[in-house]
Symmetry: C2
Subunit: 297 residues, 2 copies
C-alpha cells in the first residue's frame, strides 16, 4: 500500500504524518511553526520533522495543507496571513529540494474537504461541498476525487459569499458576507453587541432558549447559513454537504434550524441533499496527505 506524508501547517503549530492511501495515520510528529523566524526557518523545521518519520523516503509524495490560497501554478501560497513570510515564497521547490520527494501544496480547508470526500463522511460520493465553520468560514468542492481549483485557487473562498447584499459590510469586501455574519467570530461579536459578554460562539449557543437576544441572533445566523447552503446547492448541486470546524460542537443547536430553513428555500429536487458531519479525527494531516494522492502520485 502506498504511503504519503501529510503536513498540516498552521500559524502556531505544524504536524507531519505518515498516512496510507486508505487515510490511516501511521505516525505523527509535531512542533511549533516558528512563524516569526522567517520562511527558511519554517521550511527547515518542516523538513526536519518529516525526516523523523520512519521510512519517509519511500513515501509517494508530500502534501502541505497551508493557511492560505495556493497560486495558480501550485508553486507557492499567494497569500498567508498567519505566516507572512511564506506569501509568494517558493514553498514547493524549497521542500522538494530538501526532501527529494514531489510536493503538492493545498489550502487547509481544501485539504480537509478532500480528506472528508475521499476517506471520511463523503466517501464514495461524486460531488462534495465541504464547509468548515470556526473563527472563519471556508470550504472546498471535491468532484470526481479531485479538488475543484478555480482560476486563481479561490474556488469556495466561501466566507465572502453574500447572503444579503443590502447589509452593511464588516471586514470582507462583499456586503452581507457569510463570514462576517455567521462565523464563530461574528457570532461572538453579535453576542457581545447585546451588552453581555461572550468569549466564543459556543457560549452564545449555550444561551439559546434562555436569552431573548440570543434567540434573535440564532434566528438570523441560521437563516444566513441556510441562504448560503441554498446558494451553494443552486450553484453546485452536490451529492452531500460535509460540515466541519470548531462551531460544529454546537451543531445540535444550529444545524436542525439551518436544515429546516434550507429545505424551505430550495427547489424541490435539492431539498433532500444530505448535511453530513465531518468524520475524521485528523482531517488536517490526512487531507494534506491526500493532496499528492489525488494528483496521481
Amino acid at each position: 500500500m502506498k504511503t504519503y506524508i501529510g503536513i498540516d501547517l498552521g500559524g502556531t503549530n505544524v504536524r507531519a504524518s505518515l498516512v496510507d492511501e486508505s487515510g490511516k495515520v501511521l505516525e505523527t510528529v509535531k512542533s511549533p511553526t516558528y512563524a516569526d523566524k522567517g520562511a527558511e526557518a519554517v521550511i527547515d523545521n518542516i523538513c526536519n520533522l518529516v525526516k523523523q518519520l520512519s521510512n519517509y523516503e519511500s513515501a509517494s509524495g508530500v502534501g502541505v495543507a497551508a493557511p492560505g490560497p495556493v497560486s495558480r501554478d501550485g508553486s507557492c501560497l499567494s497569500m498567508c496571513t498567519n505566516i507572512k513570510t511564506l506569501a509568494k515564497y517558493p514553498l514547493k521547490k524549497s521542500i522538494e529540494d530538501k526532501l527529494h520527494l514531489p510536493v503538492v501544496l493545498g489550502n487547509d480547508a481544501d485539504a480537509a474537504g478532500l480528506a472528508e470526500a475521499l476517506v471520511g463522511a463523503g466517501k464514495g460520493l461524486r460531488t462534495i461541498v465541504y464547509i468548515t465553520v470556526s473563527t472563519g468560514i471556508g470550504g472546498a468542492i471535491v468532484y470526481d476525487g479531485k479538488l475543484f481549483p478555480g482560476s486563481h485557487g479561490y474556488a469556495m473562498e466561501v466566507g465572502s459569499l453574500s447572503v444579503d447584499g443590502s447589509r452593511n459590510h464588516i471586514n470582507l469586501p462583499s456586503n452581507g458576507a457569510i463570514e462576517d455574519w455567521a462565523s464563530g467570530t461574528a457570532i461572538t461579536r453579535l453576542g457581545n453587541e447585546t451588552g453581555k459578554s461572550y468569549k466564543h460562539a459556543g457560549e452564545v449557543f449555550d444561551a439559546y432558549q434562555k436569552d431573548e437576544d440570543v434567540n434573535k441572533i440564532v434566528e438570523q445566523v441560521t437563516t444566513d447559513l441556510a441562504v448560503m447552503f441554498g446558494n451553494l446547492a443552486t450553484t453546485i448541486d452536490p451529492d452531500a454537504f460535509v460540515l466541519g470546524g470548531g462551531m460544529m460542537k454546537s451543531s445540535d443547536v444550529f444545524l436542525p434550524l439551518v436544515q429546516d430553513k434550507y429545505r424551505q428555500r430550495v427547489l424541490e429536487a435539492l431539498r433532500d441533499t444530505p448535511f453530513l458531519k465531518a468524520s475524521l479525527e485528523e482531517p488536517g494531516v490526512v487531507g494534506a496527505a491526500m493532496l499528492p494522492m489525488s494528483n496521481g502520485l
Copy 2:
C-alpha cells in the same frame, strides 16, 4: 472532420442542424414543436426533421437541448414546463430507437454554455461560468471541456440564487432569488409597479437616466446582479463569465454598472475576472451538437 446533429427544442419551435466539430453549422431545418400534440408527436416530428439533413446517418451523435433539467441518468427531462408531456418521458431512448444514433440530452442553458465555452467567447479557457438573462436566468459551469452536472442535474439552476435573504419571495422558493428580481420578467414587473407601462425589460432600460423611478430600478437590479456574480466568483472562481440571453441587447446600460459593483464586492484576486459577451449566432443548435462531442462520441 466529425459531424454532430444538434436539436434545439423549444416550447414553440424546434430546429435541427448538422454541425461540425469546430462548431460550424452546415445545414439547418426547423418546424413548430407541436407541444400540444403529446410526446410521441413531438418526437416523431424531431426525427423527421433530422432525416431531412444530408447524410444524417453518418453523424457521430445527436444532442438535444431541451427546456428543462435532465434526469441524473440522462434518460429524460425531470421537469419540462413548456412541453409538459415530455417530463419523465423516455426521450433519449425514443429518439435513439427511431434514428439509430446515440443521443445525449441537455438543458438548453447548459448546451448554450457548452457551445460558448468550447467554440464561442470562452474558447480555450478551462473554467467558464455561463449566464443567460432573458425572461428567466439560467446558467452552466463548463470545466475541462465538460458540463459540471451536479447530483440532480441542477448545477447552476442559478435563477434561485438568493442575493438578499431578507427580501420577500415572489415565485421561486428562495427569498431574494435573482430571477425574481433581475430577470427580464422581473424588470418589466418592477417597471410596471411604478405606474407606467412597459412591455419588456428593454423598454425599462431605454428609460434609464430619463426617469427617476427607472434609475432606482436599474440601481437595484445592477446591485443584485453584481451580488450574484460575486457569489459565483466566490464559489467557482471561473476563468471568465460568459453572458448571453435576450437582455444582453441592453448590456450597454447595465453591464458596466454590474461590473463596477462586482469589483467593489469581491476579493482582490477575483476583481479582474472577465465578463465576456456570448459570441455565437446559434448557441442552441451548436450547444446541442456539442453535447455528444463533450461526452466523447
